[in-house]
Amino acid sequence: MLDSGDMFLESNGIVEGQKEAVAARADLFIKAYNKSGVAAYGLGDRDLSALGVEGLKALAKKAQFPFLNANVVDKDGKPVFTPTLVVEVAGFKVGVFGIVTGGAEFPEKEQYKLKDPTEATKAAVADLGNQGVDAIVMLAHLDRPDADAIVKAVPGIDVVLGGQSMGSSQGLDPVGAGFWAEAGQKGKFLNIITLNLSAKGHKAFVVREAAAKLKAEVAELDDRIRRYSKLQNAPSVPGTRTADPGRFKGVVESMLKHRATLEEKAAKLAKVPEDAPFLSFTAVPMNKALRDDTEVAGWVTEYETKYPPAGHGVTRPVPGQPVQLKPGMDASSMRKLRPVVKPSGQSTPPAGK
């Protein structure tokens, strides 16, 4: 199991009143991940800004899996965290490395800096290549355009597991010589990307299921086009969504344009080499029907009893305590905090507002 970052906190910064709660929450996550058998954790920008490099270094010592990152470096340019990892499974070597966006911030700017993500990626891929891996997986806490540019600039990356952009993939999206997938947020989905390997040696992967996926996508789109066309042609009924049926016209036109691109894609489909290693993709939605691990559920209950949640996954600062940003933090990082309700009933807007 791999995680592409931003595990610990929704906001980018911690206010003074939250420090203890955030630290306890981070410990809880690490304990749960230790129990889950996570193979590697790729750092995200919120992890860095909320806990700082030092905080993450301390947390990494409690984890039974590496914190992967190749572009947070010290003054000498050496990676602070584990830059690459090779996992041997079923006789094959899978190489994994992590990159965080160049826009990440952390309080210890004097001691640490961010290396250019492309340069760090080149170094990581070269390192994994030297170790004779059969596949290379990138934990990319990057915006999609940045990830695309890096993967195109650095050949050899087979699977790019995205964070940062928080999108949910419906399939594997080609990027460079590899494929991109992302798993949304808040654990609503787990993606399962299967590496189907027949022979040792690093070869470019293919996706065999492209035609089937495209067929399903076209069928779904056609159904939507028909439904929206009916809405577009429906009588205007005030107070309903067909009050102005004309507004569906643009939606239908947009879907027809998308359909044209799918048609182009279908025309370009070709059979992939039968001897090439191939990838499969499944998105598994999580829901309440899944049984909780009783021990982990107990830890969560214990945590929430001690630190009652205030929404947004953030523990509300204690009224009366000073609300201060950590050194180096930007006031905009406070935007998602709700106003603190004072005992008198008067509310104070979040700092920076």
């Binding site: 199991m1 499974v89 597991l161 992302e182 590496l195 027949s198 066309s229 059979k271 949640p309 953030v314």
Partner: protein
């Protein structure tokens, strides 16, 4: 006396006006019914021809749905509608769904009027058109609305119901996309699953 003459003329005028109105009234909804029934499937030339005025006296033909349509579905009212009203056919007409153009069909000659339509009180054209799912059907428009531009001269003015206007807007024709199917030999290698997540952002109860 002069006063009585004025009243008498006024009463006569009113009586004439009512008489005219009574004459026109029975036809108007029938026209509306026809204006609904007239839309013919684009992919079905026969049905389109059936909507021509010469055949318009045979509303049953004109209203025949295209192959592949689902009349049962078409007559089905949206949730919250009054099914009895929505599906109630006019006397002598085919079922109410007849007024609904087939999926992907282009309505043709929607504005052409019926000649010798069904009895007025039975036809509820606007309700007979199946509204979008979850929508309430529109009320039938008041009779006597102006005929749309392009209506044949010398024929009674057709009623531009909202449904007729809506039907006039063509649904897009979706040309099938050919997607090849490839077959591969059975896989005999090893499968390694990467289970991936990201952005938990502090969520302690990710499943709920």
């Amino acid at each position: 006396m002069r006063w009585f003459r004025i009243v008498g003329v006024a009463l006569l005028g009113a009586a004439l006006a009512m008489g005219c109105a009574a004459k026109q009234e029975p036809q108007a909804p029938a026209e509306a019914a026809k204006s609904q029934a007239a839309p013919a499937p684009a992919g079905d030339q026969k049905a389109a021809e059936a909507a021509k005025p010469a055949d318009a006296a045979k509303p049953a033909d004109a209203a025949k749905p295209a192959e592949g349509d689902k009349p049962a579905d078409a007559a089905k009212p949206a949730e919250g509608d009054k099914p009895a009203d929505a599906a109630k056919p006019a006397e002598g007409d085919k079922p109410a769904n007849a007024a609904k153009p087939a999926e992907g069909d282009k309505p043709a000659d929607a504005a052409k009027p019926a000649q010798g339509g069904a009895p007025a009180d039975a036809a509820k054209p606007a309700e007979a058109v199946k509204p979008a799912e979850g929508e309430k059907p529109a009320d039938a428009p008041a009779p006597g609305q102006p005929a749309p531009a392009g209506a044949p001269a010398g024929q009674p003015a057709a009623i531009a119901t909202p449904a007729a206007v809506a039907a006039a807007a063509a649904e897009p024709e979706l040309k099938p996309i050919t997607i090849p199917e490839f077959t591969y030999p059975d896989f005999a290698g090893k499968r390694i699953a990467l289970v991936h997540t990201a952005n938990l952002i502090g969520e302690l109860k990710p499943c709920g």
